[in-house]
């Protein structure tokens, strides 16, 4: 293995044999240096985009209500025109499967794109770092102030930073709860101090989680808590584009003047400035190769490209590259072709199929749901004159936001007819259990064997006398011995 021969650069001096050490390591504060460049711009764009959606969506009105609202107490989930019931949870499952497939695809192609650019942990850390930078300065200033004596300057800067973090965290908490309690009501009640205890609890809980994770824990979440970080590498192979240091080109490293001839000095392109380590949000040295701690944020790529420009060397000493292309450099088109390998195509096909199925299923979704349950009390009932009656509980769930008329028809069993009223109405997003009796006339009943016989309930949504949607549900009709 190549990893075994890589030089180990200890961050702290190793303890000598015989010395007692802690098996619980004290945290090393990381001061990521600000970085600008193509990837940083992408990250900022994604931060802005995701947060515009997250903070903005609850405020969007739709049909006289909040466009996206998960009403847990009423168990109705409103997403624009959709009204979802808990029975529709399968959609969430499919959505999560789609997300997983998308993750497989992106990871197989370009490593931890999710971690570096879209994960909430990264996104909020980025926002919190931005606040920190504006109040406390960049890496060097922060390090200097933290190492220095206590001062009024430090106190007010830190105080202001925590106040800003706290305020942002609170807004985040309120927004989060605003997806479950109408946000206009929620903010009004919070302002007036009249909101429920659970709402306050969840606002504070989510605010604290944001503040703690993005302000204090940061890379610790990625390094020690995130299970995803650990199993993601299972999706890597030697054709995955990962943030890599080109050791062939860079080594041996060494400082040199801008106009010095590196070849003559026997040096590679890496000037060993250490900027790639300074910008790293998880505090690793990318030059040691692929590590589980690398979240693929490409900050080192941006900063190194800047250095290469200054040195008038070609860009890309640190870049997104596959291990194969680093080992045997070839044409970029070859690398690209190898990236489009069978597993990527399979992931892509599965993802496409799932997305198509999901969209089609949502599109063709019936505007009401039906559940037919045989009555638990009685199997069958004999009436006078040899008629037989079965009782059912018919649950109808209106998945629209308008009052609807329905009609029930029984079919599939000769002589069977509904003995209860066949038409009823449901209010907006209302669900109701209706007891319904089906009666079988004497002569067909005598002709049937005792036991269960198939039967179908056809429930029609009626508008102006004509059915506009139909759901047909199977059940059984029991003829007693």
């Amino acid at each position: 293995m190549r990893t075994a021969t890589r030089p180990v650069i200890p961050i702290a001096p190793l303890p000598a044999a015989g010395e007692a050490v802690w098996l619980y390591e004290k945290r090393r504060q990381i001061y990521p240096r600000a970085v600008s460049g193509r990837h940083a711009a992408w990250r900022v764009a994604l931060v802005v985009l995701t947060q515009l959606v997250f903070y903005g969506l609850p405020w969007l009105p739709w049909n006289g209500r909040q466009a996206v609202l998960f009403d847990l107490t009423a168990r109705r989930f409103y997403i624009f025109d959709l009204v979802l019931y808990p029975q529709d949870f399968i959609y969430l499952t499919v959505l999560l499967v789609i997300c997983a497939c998308a993750l497989f695809l992106f990871t197989a192609v370009a490593g931890r794109l999710w971690c570096g650019f879209a994960c909430p942990q990264t996104v909020y850390t980025e926002i919190f770092l931005w606040i920190e930078r504006h109040l406390e300065g960049d890496r060097m200033a922060r390090m200097k102030r933290d190492a220095g004596p206590r001062s009024l300057d430090r106190l007010w800067r830190k105080g202001a930073k925590h106040a800003a973090w706290g305020a942002l965290a609170l807004v985040t908490g309120i927004t989060f709860v605003g997806y479950f309690t109408p946000i206009r009501t929620l903010t009004g009640e919070l302002w007036a101090g009249q909101s429920g205890a659970w709402e306050v609890f969840w606002v504070l809980f989510y605010a604290l989680a944001t503040y703690g994770n993005a302000g204090w824990l940061r890379e610790q979440v990625c390094l020690y808590m995130c299970p995803y970080a650990r199993f993601q590498s299972a999706m890597f192979d030697r054709d995955t584009l990962i943030v890599s240091y080109d050791a062939r080109r860079g080594d041996p490293r060494g400082t040199r003047g801008r106009d010095a001839d590196a070849r003559a000095l026997g040096l590679g392109d890496c000037i060993d400035c250490g900027l790639c380590v300074q910008v790293c949000p998880t505090g690793i040295d990318i030059r040691q190769g692929l590590q589980y701690a690398c979240i693929g944020c490409a900050a080192c790529v941006d900063v190194c490209n800047g250095v290469m420009d200054k040195m008038r060397y070609p860009r890309g000493l640190i870049r997104f590259a596959t291990q194969n292309s680093l080992a045997a450099p070839g044409a970029p088109s070859l690398t690209l072709r190898r990236v489009l390998r069978p597993r990527v195509l399979v992931y892509g096909a599965v993802l496409l199929a799932l997305c198509a199925g999901f969209t089609a299923s949502l599109w063709l979704r019936s505007p009401f749901r039906v559940d037919i349950v045989r009555d638990r009390g009685a199997l069958a009932r004999e009436l006078g004159h040899g008629e037989i009656e079965n009782v059912y509980r018919v649950q109808v769930m209106n998945a629209t936001e308008a009052r609807q008329q329905y009609r029930v028809v029984v079919e599939g069993l000769d002589g069977a007819a509904l003995a209860t009223r066949a038409d009823f109405a449901l209010g907006p997003a209302e669900a109701r259990w209706l007891p319904m009796s089906v009666r079988l006339a004497a002569e067909p009943a005598q002709a049937l064997q005792p036991g269960a016989h198939p039967l179908r309930f056809r429930i029609e949504r009626v508008e102006g006398g004509a059915p506009t949607a139909v759901v047909s549900e199977p059940s059984t009709f029991v003829v007693p011995r």
Binding site: L14, V21, S437
Partner: protein, 303 residues
Amino acid sequence: MSDFFSSGWSVFVAVATVVSMLFCLVLLAIAARRKVMSDDNTTGHAWDGDLTELNNPLPRWWMWLFIGTVVFSFAYLLLYPGAGSRAGTLGWTSAGQYAAEQKAAREAMAPVYANYAHAPAEALLKDPAAMGIGERLFLNNCAACHGSDGRGSRGFPNLTDDDWLYGGDAATIETTIAGGRVGQMPSMASVGGAREQRELAHYVMSLSGSPNDSIAAAGGKKLFGQCAACHGVGGKGNPALGAPNLSDGVWLHGWGEKAIMTTIANGRTNVMPAHKDRLTPEQIHVLAAYVMSLSRSRTTTTP
């Protein structure tokens, strides 16, 4: 409280709990630091010749989290039951929590029922919201015996016809729901042997105009005197006693010679449980109105 014959077990459980919690801390203290055995950042162990163990330490805050959980469990043990049979300073019990939640639920329901509590049943019949509540109460509490459609089954009265054992006015239905009913008919084997019982059965069938053996029925007429004490001379029943009307063709315990003879020979005891401990008076009020609606509503056609 004693789960065991002696308090020794309780003491044992308490001691074992506290000792194991302390042991967790001791173990952590012992294992948190160790002497480095080699200077290449490995633990110095080697297995299978060359398999070594890198010292890859956990973060320090992880250790504090561990200590925090132990501290939390001590606080929990102090406040809640857990140390043997000790009740905990908060005095929490699962039964108490259940009672408190029920109380809270009743209080939350109170405003819903406030409008209905004093409304007459006739008014509730016309209120779709009240009928919706009544329907849910019926499905949860009554449907198991009377069926989802209230049409009952053998031994369980049909609530959708106009035949009421005890009376079909709102007050009586409320009494029935709250206190339950025990319908008792003594054995009438004293009327005579199998022949007399058969004659009596046929007379009973003749009361509702059901097909019967008229000769046997004529013989049974003389025997009916004993039945008339409860069922009335014409067999019209007596709601005050809950004695069924025998002349309306509604047969709670089955129709036909055999079923009626069984009833005569053995008597019947039919029980409806009381619901006053399960439902509040307001709920019973709304439920009674719903039950009344069953025999009036056009959603159910009576045979």
